[in-house]
Amino acid sequence: MGNSVGLMDRFRKILGLRKTQGILLAVLSLLVILLPLVANNYIEEVATNTLFYIVLALGLNIVVGYAGLVDLGYAAFFAVGAYTTGIFMKFGLNFWLTIPIAILFSVIAGIIIGGPTLRLRSDYLAIVTLGFGEITRITARNLKITGGASGLVGIQRPSIFGHILNQITDFYYLFLVLVVLAIIIAIRLHNSRLGRAWQYIREDEDAAEAMGIDPVKTKLYAYMIGASFGGIAGAFFAVKMTAISPETFAFTQSALILLAVILGGMGKIPGAILGAAFLVLFPEIFRGIGQMRMLLFGILLVIIMIFRPQGLWPERKG
């Protein structure tokens, strides 16, 4: 218990919150944990979706926010993770055993994408990542092993200690655990030697290089770690949906995840969380207005950017 209070304290410090805000955070956490007791399936589904996008946004935040690299093809890593898990489970492998493989494959994808291209200027990086995203999607669409355009269907639900995870509440908690882990890792990374190297490179690459930081290698680490977040999220996505198809990993998906990161405020963990929450909740709340909702979403995006160009929860410069 003392430990968890300590953790909460550290959270508070890292997030730069005052004591009262710390209490607010604790109340919020409690609400999040107790949500399934009061919510119906739909709310849980939306909440789970939110948690899922938080993991993705935190992963992309490492690439975009920490290391300052553009990535318009993040859905590719998410796809690699989802397909790896889906395919290996089709071969009869246990879900939990597919996770390390999914991570491995998505990290390899990160190296393939990052390796030859990280020397490029950031705008070219945008088109290259976009290209890789499309290549991944088209490849998944054309290959037999990925189920072609129909994708993989009938992916088994995983079980934990003999309990089959097939209720939305199960997935809610599963993704909640993922989010907590992702936040902890993101915070630790931010404060690590590597995290400082990223920040340094982001602020001034030449100076960083002069100080003995290898920019290409350091950037590649950002890609690899960001990719592994996407891979894990993808693996869990596959078993939650039980069906995955190439359309899910189209460019729009990558753009939405990037939007969550930048909307929230690049580089900040609460920002990524807020951005992801906004991204999922907004269209859901406005389901009632039908066709107009995505129009409103677009207009609101522009307005937010005009008034908060640094994002909803920007990084404070020291």
Binding site: R141, V153, A277, G290
Partner: protein
């Protein structure tokens, strides 16, 4: 200033979250102001998962219109078991993730039955969502062969399946005396499924598939594809996807001097195909679900639809209309809104007469007999073959 703003943001997000909660438990779509989750009330709530946004929105709207026509008629005749039917539309945007959220929302709104389903890819992951609550689902358009394979038991397909359509296509190819068939699909679950099934069957019958091409949705230029198809000496070009891109392909095939036959699948069976393809469309064969305009039984429906919505009923309108009527009929036969009883009643459906013909279900809950028809564009109109 910054801190104040942050608290404001936090409060807003919290309010947004509460908004979802509110939406989920109490309010409903504006189209159904009286819908409440209480299933025991005087109404029967039926959910319509359809694409209302995104590039398939036109089809979703068309199906929603037809379903609402059926509902108005049913309610006009006193409803089902003394209760009126109320519909709630869930926008699946043709996207699996949004579809799952929409399905859960429909369940939360207390629907007792589901009618609709357009995109196969978006429909498949929702089947279990409904099945867990024993909610029967009549799919009126989506027809990938993966649906029957994944059916958890609550789902009934009243559109002919890809298997049915493939048989019809092969029959037609043989009738046309074709040897070399070129297949073009759009890389989505539906058109790719139909393309693959046709390729396999055509090859199994000892014939040649000279090429199997994939286009991207929204691509406008098929000229290089046309040249490539011509260079492979295809007798028949079979387009398995939707009318918008299909019309472009037909035009460009003719423009490029292709002389062979063109056959298009049921996704292209729409009066707009004729309008968009223009003169180039003449002679094109269309595999079609039973379309209102060519069904003597649906004449009244087609006219009523046109009068009400000021446009022709699309390809899936008759089936959507039939789907709602079938569901109402099953609810009547079950005598209650109990899910299991309704599913049983649907399974027991015998010779239900809809606009599109008789509905009987095979063991896998797809249509026992194919209802596909072959039309040909002649003189700017579809003519039944």
């Amino acid at each position: 200033m910054s801190k104040k703003f942050r608290s404001m943001v936090a409060v807003t997000i919290l309010a947004l979250a509460l908004g979802v909660t509110g939406c989920g438990t109490q309010s409903s779509e504006p189209t159904t102001p009286s819908a409440t989750p209480a299933a025991g009330g005087g109404e029967i709530i039926i959910g319509l998962p359809l694409p209302m946004t995104g590039s398939e929105a036109t089809y979703g709207k068309d199906m929603e219109n037809a379903i609402k026509m059926a509902v108005d008629e049913i309610n006009g005749k006193g409803g089902v078991n003394g209760k009126n039917i109320v519909t709630v539309t869930g926008d699946d945007a043709c996207d699996p993730q949004q579809a799952t959220a929409a399905a859960n929302k429909l369940v939360s709104q207390g629907v007792v039955a589901i009618v609709g389903g357009y995109c196969s890819g978006a429909t498949i992951p929702t089947l279990t969502v409904y099945n867990e609550k024993n909610i029967p689902f009549v799919i009126t358009a989506a027809n990938s062969s993966k649906i029957a394979a994944q059916n958890p038991g609550n789902t009934f397909e009243i559109n002919g399946t890809a298997v049915h359509q493939t048989q019809k296509a092969i029959e037609l190819f043989k009738k046309l005396g074709a040897k070399n068939v070129a297949i073009v699909e759009q890389g989505d679950a539906y058109s790719s499924d139909l393309a693959k099934q046709t390729e396999d069957s055509w090859k199994a019958a000892g014939n040649t598939v000279v090429s199997h091409d994939v286009t991207n949705k929204g691509e406008q230029d098929f000229s290089s594809l046309v040249t490539s198809l011509k260079s492979k000496n295809a007798d028949v070009v079979f387009w398995t996807a939707y009318y918008a891109d299909g019309a472009l392909l037909i035009k460009q095939l003719r423009q490029g001097g292709y002389k062979g036959a063109i056959v298009v699948g049921d996704g292209s069976s729409d009066p707009k195909l004729i309008e968009m393809a223009g003169a180039a469309g003449e002679g094109t064969y269309v595999l079609s679900p039973p379309v209102a305009d060519y069904l003597p039984t649906a004449k009244q429906f087609a006219e009523a639809y046109k009068a009400k919505f000021n446009q022709s009923a699309g390809a899936y309108a008759p089936l959507a209309y039939d789907g709602m009527n079938l569901m109402a009929d099953a609810l009547k036969r079950a005598g209650s809104t109990d899910g299991k009883a309704t599913i049983k009643a649907l399974s027991d459906t015998k010779d239900f007469v809809g606009l599109a013909g008789k509905i009987n279900f095979a063991a896998d809950k797809t249509l026992k007999e194919s209802n596909f028809i072959v039309l040909q564009i002649t003189g700017g109109q579809f003519v039944l073959q």
